[in-house]
C-alpha cells in the first residue's frame, strides 16, 4: 500500500439518460472535470470521485437530467465509527495533514433559532398591516450613552459618537477579497449601497475599484493587518477589529498562494503567489487593555469620525469578554457564532470550538444590561443567520443588527459544497481563476442580494406587524415576544425567555 487508499465518493452524479441531450453544458461548466463526452458512444459520463456536489451542472442542465445523490456505499454500520469518521482517519493516514473544511459547522448541534417561537397580537392589541402603515426597519449602530447637552437656545446638541445607519438591520459579513472573488465583492458592495446597509471587506484590503462604495463599506483590521493603510481606513464608514471568527475561534487565517493573484497581492499589499497567513492572535493585543489601545489608535487615525467594531468569536465566556469590550471604547461588538462560515478552517476546530450565537447573544445582552452598559455598544450577531425569522429572533434576543455571510453567498449561487478551500468554485465566488470568477456577473449577483434582503425586510415587517410592533427599535431585546419550545430550564434561562404556553 503506497499510502493512499481509494475512498468511495460520498456523492454520486445520477444522469437520466432519457433526458440527457448531450449538450455538454455540464462538461463545460465543471471546473472539477467530472463530466466528459464520449464521441463514439455519443454519451455523457461522470467521474464521481471528482464531484464536490456544488450543483453547478444540476442547475445548468437544460433538460434537468442530472441530480446528485448521497452514496449508499457504506462500511459496516457503527454508531461510534460512522463512515465519515472512518474516512477522515484514512485521509489523515494518507496525508499526515490537518483536515481542512469550508463554510459553517455542519454537525447536528441544536439550532436554537428553530426552538424559539414568535408571538402575535390577538384581540387586545391590534396587529399592524405593513402594506397600509409605515413599518420601520431602520437602525443606528453605535454608542448611545451620550449625555444631554443643550446649546444657548436650549436645543439638544448632538453629542453622540459616530453612528452607522442601516435601512434594515442586516449587514454582509466580513469576507475578504482573496477568499472570495472580485465579482463577489462587487456584488456585495453594490447591494450594500442600493440597500442602504454595509458590507465588510474582511481581512483582504479594499480593491481600488471599490473605494467608491466606501460609505457602505466596513473595513477590517485583523491580525495579519493585510491591506491596512491610511486611505483604507479613511474610505470606510466603519472599522472592524477582528479578534476572532466563529468558524475558527482561537486560530488565524491562511490564504494559499494560489489565490494571491496580481490584484489580490496589490490589494493585500503582500507578495504575489505567497501564502497569506494571519496570526492566531493580534501580536499587539495580548489583553483587553491592549485592545483598548488599538481601538483608540484607529479612532485617532480617523479623527473619531468612524465607529469601531470589535468582532469576537462566540466562546464560553463571551459575555465577560463583551463586557470588557463595551468598556474599551469600541462602538459596536460583533459576535460570531460557531456555525458561521469560513473560506477554510481546520475541520476539527470548525466542528468543535465555540458556542451557538443564540446563547452567546442572549448572555451578552443580558450581561451588558445587568451592568448598565448596554448603551455603550451596539451588538451585531453573526454566525448563521439563515432567514428573516433568525434575524427577528436575534433582534428580540437583543441584537441591534445581524451580519449575514452564508445566506449572502447562497444568494450569489453558492450551494454549500464546502469546498471553498480548493479554489475551484464553480459559482465564481470562492475562486480567483478568471474563467470561474466571470461566472458571477455582479449585475445579477447584486440584484439577487438586494432581493434577498428586501424579501427578508418584507417578512420582518410582516412579523413585526403581527406583533403590533411598527419599529424594529421596539423589537430589540423584546424577549417577551419569544417562547422556547422543547428547551430545558437551563437553556430557557440562558436565553432569557419563557417556555411556550407560559
Amino acid at each position: 500500500m503506497n499510502g493512499t487508499l481509494f475512498i468511495y465518493p460520498d456523492y454520486e452524479v445520477v444522469r437520466d439518460y432519457d433526458k440527457c441531450i448531450a449538450c455538454r453544458v455540464c462538461e463545460r461548466q465543471c471546473a472539477n472535470e467530472v463530466h466528459s463526452y464520449d464521441p463514439d458512444l455519443k454519451k455523457m459520463f461522470a467521474d464521481n470521485t471528482k464531484c464536490v456536489n456544488c450543483h453547478r451542472c444540476v442547475c445548468l442542465c437544460p433538460t434537468h437530467a442530472l441530480k446528485i445523490v448521497k452514496s449508499d456505499n457504506t462500511y459496516k454500520i457503527n454508531a461510534n465509527w460512522d463512515n465519515q469518521t472512518i474516512n477522515e482517519v484514512y485521509r489523515q493516514a494518507g496525508t499526515g495533514g490537518v483536515l481542512l473544511s469550508s463554510m459553517g459547522n455542519p454537525k447536528p448541534y441544536p439550532v436554537y433559532w428553530d426552538k424559539m417561537l414568535v408571538n402575535a397580537s390577538q384581540v387586545t392589541n391590534p396587529s399592524i398591516d405593513p402594506l397600509r402603515e409605515p413599518m420601520e426597519t431602520a437602525v443606528y449602530l453605535g454608542k448611545k450613552n451620550a449625555g444631554i447637552e443643550r446649546d444657548e437656545n436650549g436645543r439638544l446638541k448632538d453629542t453622540l459618537p459616530p453612528q452607522l445607519k442601516l435601512s434594515v438591520p442586516v449587514m454582509f459579513s466580513a469576507m475578504s477579497y482573496g477568499s472570495i472573488s472580485y465579482n463577489a465583492h462587487e456584488s456585495l458592495a453594490r447591494a450594500a449601497e442600493e440597500l442602504g446597509i454595509y458590507y465588510n471587506t474582511g481581512e483582504g484590503g479594499l480593491h481600488k475599484d471599490f473605494y467608491k462604495y466606501g460609505k457602505n463599506t466596513i473595513v477590517q483590521v485583523a491580525s495579519g493587518r493585510f491591506g491596512v493603510f491610511k486611505d483604507y481606513l479613511e474610505t470606510a464608514a466603519a472599522i472592524e477589529i477582528k479578534m476572532g471568527q466563529g468558524a475558527k475561534p482561537g486560530i488565524g487565517g491562511h490564504l494559499p498562494g494560489s489565490k494571491i493573484t496580481d490584484a489580490v497581492s496589490t490589494t493585500r499589499m503582500i507578495p504575489k503567489g505567497v501564502d497569506a497567513i494571519s496570526p492566531a492572535p493580534h501580536h499587539d493585543i495580548y489583553s483587553i487593555e491592549d485592545l483598548r489601545q488599538l481601538v483608540y489608535s484607529l479612532k485617532e487615525a480617523t479623527d473619531y469620525k468612524k465607529p469601531v467594531i470589535v468582532k469576537i468569536a462566540a466562546v464560553h465566556n463571551c459575555a465577560a469578554i463583551a463586557s470588557g469590550i463595551a468598556r474599551s471604547g469600541a462602538d459596536i461588538i460583533a459576535v460570531d457564532g460557531f456555525r458561521g462560515g469560513t473560506g477554510a478552517a481546520p475541520t476539527r476546530i470548525r466542528d468543535n470550538v465555540g458556542i451557538p450565537i443564540e446563547l452567546a447573544l442572549a448572555s451578552i445582552d443580558t450581561r451588558l444590561r445587568e451592568e448598565g452598559i448596554r448603551d455603550n455598544v451596539s451588538i451585531v450577531a453573526a454566525g448563521s443567520i439563515r432567514s428573516s425569522t433568525d434575524l427577528l429572533k436575534a433582534i428580540a434576543l437583543g441584537a441591534d443588527a445581524c451580519y449575514i455571510g452564508t445566506a449572502a453567498l447562497l444568494s450569489l449561487g453558492c450551494h454549500l459544497c464546502r469546498s471553498c478551500h480548493q479554489g475551484k468554485c464553480n459559482w465564481g465566488i470562492a475562486t480567483q481563476r478568471p474563467e470561474l470568477v466571470k461566472r458571477l456577473n455582479p449585475e445579477i449577483g447584486y440584484r439577487r442580494l438586494v432581493r434577498l434582503v428586501t424579501a427578508w425586510k418584507h417578512e420582518l415587517q410582516e412579523m413585526m406587524g403581527g406583533m403590533g410592533i411598527n419599529s424594529v427599535e421596539a423589537l430589540r431585546g423584546n424577549r417577551l415576544m419569544l417562547r422556547g419550545i422543547g428547551l430545558t430550564d437551563r437553556e430557557l434561562s440562558v436565553l432569557g425567555i419563557r417556555h411556550a404556553g407560559e
Partner: protein
C-alpha cells in the same frame, strides 16, 4: 392565579382628565361623572384617580399612599420609613364603606421628608433618594405597596368600577387643580389593588389605555437605570420612562413625547432641518424607549397634564377646552357629560403630544 408582577397582564381601559389652568380647585366628582359614562370600557377589576394640588398644607412633603396586606407589613414599612424619613403626619385614608368595593387592604397615608443625615450620606438628590426608597419598599417589604409618592398630589385606586372607587375614597372631599382617572379592563387579573391605575412615581402619574407591544424592550432598557418593573404593566413602565426622561435626562415634555411616540422616519424627513436634527437625535439616543402598540395616556405632573397617543393612533383620545378648563378623555361623551358647552374639541394626531399647563407653568 398570578398577581400583577408575577405575570404580564394586558388590559383595555378608559381614561379621562381635567385641569383648571387658572389653578382653581375642583373636587373629584366631575371625574367620577366623566368616567361613569365610559362604564363599558371597564370591567370592574380596577379604577383609580390622581389629583394634583390636593395637599396644599403638606406641599413640601412627599405624600406616600400605601396598601398593606396586614399589620406586619405596616409595621415593617413604618420601621423602614422611620429610618429614612421624617414622618410629618400619618393617617389611615378615609373611605366610604360601599357594597361595590370589597376586600380592601389597609390604606394609609404618610407625609414624609428625607432624613437630612441619610440623604447627605447617600450622595443622591432628594428625589432620587425618595424614589429608591419607594422601590425598596415595593420590592422588599412583603405585603406593602407604595402607590402614590409625589408632593401635593395623590393617587386613589382600588379594585372595582372607577365610579365606585371614587365614591369609596370620598373624592368629593378633595380639591385639586387637575385630575386624571382610569377605568380598567384587564383580561386575566384576579384584581389586586396595587395593580389598579393610575400608576404614580414621585409626582408623575400615568393613566393609560392600551396594550403596548414594545413592553419588554422598554422594560429591559429602563431597568438598566435602577427601575424595577414589579407590576409588569404598561402603565408602570411608561411612568418610569417619563420619570427617566423628564427627571433624570431633563428632557422637555415635548422631547419626551418624541422619544416615546416619535414621528415616523418618513415624516421626520419632511420636517424642517432643525426639527429633523432634534427628532433624529432623540430617536437615535433613546431608541429603546420608543413605544409601539396602542396606547393613549395622560401623564399628570405638578402643574400640568399631557395627553399622548401612539403614533398610529390605535387608541382614541379626545381633548377639549372650555374657558380655563381643559379636558382629555378616551371618548368625547366623557367630556360632554361634565361640560356640554365646549369652546373647542379636537382629536390629536397619533404621536402628537397635547400639553395643558397652569397659566404659571409647571410647578
Amino acid at each position: 392565579m398570578l398577581l400583577e408582577g408575577q405575570e404580564r397582564i394586558p388590559s383595555g381601559c378608559a381614561v379621562t382628565g381635567v385641569i383648571d389652568r387658572s389653578g382653581k380647585g375642583m373636587t373629584g366628582e366631575d371625574m367620577i361623572r366623566s368616567i361613569a359614562v365610559m362604564h363599558d370600557r371597564s370591567n370592574g377589576l380596577g379604577g383609580g384617580f390622581a389629583g394634583y394640588g390636593i395637599y396644599p398644607d403638606y406641599s413640601d412633603f412627599y405624600a406616600f399612599h400605601l396598601f398593606f396586606d396586614d399589620g406586619a407589613a405596616k409595621t415593617a414599612t413604618e420601621e423602614f420609613l422611620g429610618r429614612h424619613f421624617e414622618i410629618a403626619y400619618a393617617s389611615e385614608i378615609q373611605t366610604r364603606k360601599i357594597p361595590e368595593i370589597t376586600d380592601e387592604p389597609l390604606i394609609w397615608r404618610y407625609f414624609v421628608s428625607p432624613l437630612s443625615r441619610k440623604l447627605e450620606s447617600s450622595h443622591l438628590d432628594e428625589r432620587e433618594y425618595t424614589a429608591r426608597c419607594v422601590n425598596k419598599i415595593n420590592t422588599y417589604i412583603k405585603g406593602a405597596y407604595v402607590f402614590s409618592s409625589g408632593k401635593n398630589m395623590g393617587i386613589f385606586k382600588a379594585v372595582g368600577f372607577p365610579e365606585d372607587v371614587g365614591r369609596f375614597y370620598k373624592l368629593e372631599e378633595y380639591s385639586g387643580y387637575s385630575w386624571t382617572c382610569h377605568g380598567r379592563y384587564p383580561t386575566n387579573t384576579p384584581g389586586w389593588w396595587g395593580g389598579a391605575h393610575p400608576f404614580g412615581f414621585l409626582e408623575y402619574s400615568v393613566v393609560h389605555n392600551g396594550e403596548i407591544s414594545s413592553y419588554d424592550a422598554n422594560r429591559r432598557y429602563i431597568e438598566m437605570f435602577g427601575y424595577k418593573c414589579n407590576l409588569q404593566t404598561d402603565t408602570e413602565v411608561i411612568a418610569y420612562i417619563f420619570d427617566y426622561l423628564l427627571r433624570r435626562k431633563k428632557l422637555t415634555l415635548t422631547e419626551a413625547a418624541h422619544v416615546v411616540a416619535p414621528s415616523f422616519w418618513s415624516t421626520i424627513a419632511r420636517k424642517s432641518k432643525e426639527d429633523q436634527e432634534q427628532e433624529t437625535l432623540l430617536r437615535k439616543m433613546f431608541s429603546s424607549l420608543l413605544i409601539t402598540g396602542p396606547f393613549s395616556i395622560i401623564v399628570g405632573y405638578p402643574g400640568g397634564l399631557m395627553a399622548l397617543g401612539d403614533r398610529l393612533k390605535l387608541r382614541s383620545t379626545v381633548v377639549a377646552e372650555k374657558g380655563d378648563k381643559a379636558y382629555i378623555a378616551s371618548e368625547e361623551s366623557a367630556i360632554r357629560v361634565i361640560e356640554p358647552d365646549l369652546d373647542k374639541v379636537w382629536a390629536p394626531a397619533g404621536g402628537e403630544p397635547v400639553i395643558f399647563e397652569l397659566y404659571g407653568g409647571r410647578k
